[in-house]
Symmetry: C2
Subunit: 114 residues, 2 copies
DNA sequence: GTCAAACTACGATGGTTCTCGTACGATGGA
DNA sequence: TCCATCGTACGAGAACCATCGTAGTTTGAC
């Protein structure tokens, strides 16, 4: 009785052209979310939500991932019981060339400064 | 009786090293403020608050300029009755190389897409 | 000294966001 | 079938933010 899409209900994502610069900047302006994005970029692969050890509860984590997804920064797909998160680096780079890299670089620098 | 600094009371600005990436991104994530920054960059010189024609009241404009100043994006100095606003492009570029340019470029692109 | 212009300060309001806790649903394995 | 795991939904609270209007301050010009 389960509908055809048995393997993975899917989540709403903005299409590439729908991604707004302001939303992306806003998504990245939260420390927790910037941390998530940096980790995702450093790892270079899709990570499940539970791969992240964050100083907030699970529901708060869910909230932040949703903001990231709705702003177009990450793509989320279900994989069994886990939900994999991948950076939409290709889409972002097509829309806003170099932006994500400069932000990540800036975050690294700032972290280096302590 | 006026203290020595007769020509221009001065406003609190973060020092270069105090500028936080998250604050900058947050400042730039508001449409009104991004618009201000773009205009400032396009003009390439200091502009007074009243040079901007924004669809908000003056008190709201004051608010946005303060956010921009406190986050380290603009520098404000009094010049007689006017207040001049200049982009802190040098400071930002020293801290976060290329970031401001990529944001401005991204904003142009997005504006171009309509 | 008076006046207009530029901007600020303050208080209020309505909206958004970050955070949590608890309860729920979906998946895959024992 | 039962259960553990992973994540969601919902409700709530506190904080923050964008916006406004009004009243005030500072400055420079007349």
């Amino acid at each position: 009785m389960t509908p055809p899409a048995a393997h993975g209900r899917d989540l709403p994502h903005p299409a590439r052209e729908e991604i707004r610069l302001e939303s992306v900047l806003h998504a990245l302006s939260d420390p927790m979310r910037l941390r998530i994005v940096r980790e995702l970029a450093a790892e270079g692969r899709e990570l499940s939500c539970s791969d992240f050890v964050l100083p907030v509860t699970k529901s708060t984590t869910t909230h932040h991932f949703r903001v990231l997804r709705e702003s177009g920064v990450v793509r989320q797909v279900y994989r069994g019981t886990a939900k994999l998160n991948g950076l939409r680096a290709d889409d972002l780079d097509a829309l806003f060339p170099g932006l994500l890299d400069r932000v990540l670089e800036a975050a690294d620098r700032q972290a280096g400064r302590g």
